[in-house]
């Protein structure tokens, strides 16, 4: 099986996983809208939580995977890790867009403003910008070996930075009295709401896996084409 065929196979499998996840998402939608009770104090807008939190989790998972793979690439120098890290970063950025749109839509009705500098929202924003920078750096480097090494360095730095950003933003946040009455988590979720949330978490994780498999396969296919175009190798 050539590298190309293996990549196409991964892509097919990834496509299947993605379809399963999308069906799962539809199920979550139906369950959240029709079969989960409306929260008394926050109203239907509270249901955004069942979509926003899992997507935020998948986004952060994607970025963490990129960071770990970057570390692996720097130690093992295997291009597979570089291509996977890049795939995970792109998927994370795409999911991040959904995260950063649903977040404020949830904050507005619940907390009164589209953007409150809540620790979690802010640190996810900075993490998102960090990995947009990662993709921008990759785009600016044509030699694939330099691109792999430099993005791995940035990936590792980003991995270590995220906890720092969270602590900084959290300390910054709690020192100012919270202007809003209700805390997002509210009382611990009743069982039916919790299961909706958990299913959504699983679905979003599966979705991430399906998308990253496809994007990784695409990265390999692009690399194979580049190699063919470069002409003959060495004896």
């Amino acid at each position: 099986m050539t590298r190309r065929e293996r990549a196409l196979q991964t892509a097919r499998r990834g496509g299947l996983v993605t379809v399963i996840a999308l069906v799962g998402l539809a199920v979550v939608y139906v369950r959240a809208i029709a079969f989960t009770p409306i929260e008394r104090t926050q109203g239907p807008a509270q249901k955004i939580f069942y979509v926003h939190a899992p997507i935020a989790w998948a986004t952060m998972l994607a970025f963490a995977v990129t960071g770990l793979l970057s570390l692996l690439y720097l130690t093992m120098r295997d291009r597979k890790f570089d291509l996977m890290a890049a795939a995970s970063a792109e998927v994370g950025t795409a999911l991040g867009i959904a995260m950063l749109t649903t977040g404020p839509l949830w904050a507005k009705p619940i907390w009164g403003t589209f953007w409150t500098w809540d620790a979690r929202l802010t640190s996810t924003l900075f993490t998102f910008l960090l990995f947009v920078g990662y993709l921008v750096l990759r785009g600016a480097l044509s030699d694939f070996e330099v691109r792999a090494r430099f993005s791995a360095v940035l990936g590792v730095m980003a991995l270590v930075l995220v906890p720092f950003i969270h602590v900084t933003v959290y300390w910054f946040r709690t020192l100012h009295p919270d202007p809003v009455v209700m805390k997002p988590e509210g009382p611990s979720l009743p069982a039916v709401m919790l299961t909706t949330l958990l299913t959504s978490l699983i679905v979003c994780t599966v979705l991430y896996i399906g998308l990253v498999m496809q994007r990784y396969a695409l990265a390999v296919l692009e690399d194979v084409r580049e190699e063919e175009e470069a002409g003959d190798g060495i004896s």
């Binding site: 809208i33 109203g43 239907p44 249901k47 795409a94 959904a98």
Partner: protein
């Protein structure tokens, strides 16, 4: 009913999330397919 009437935000958030996820999934599928024909 007693709870604030803000379902509009929910509808907006659910649609945007679905659109983003679907658009990315579909574009990814077609980006890969371009390499499949040869």
């Amino acid at each position: 009913m007693g709870y604030p009437e803000n379902s509009g935000y929910m509808v907006a958030a659910y649609t945007i999330a679905a659109v983003v996820v679907l658009v990315y999934s579909v574009t990814l599928y077609f980006r890969v397919r371009r390499y499949r024909d040869r």
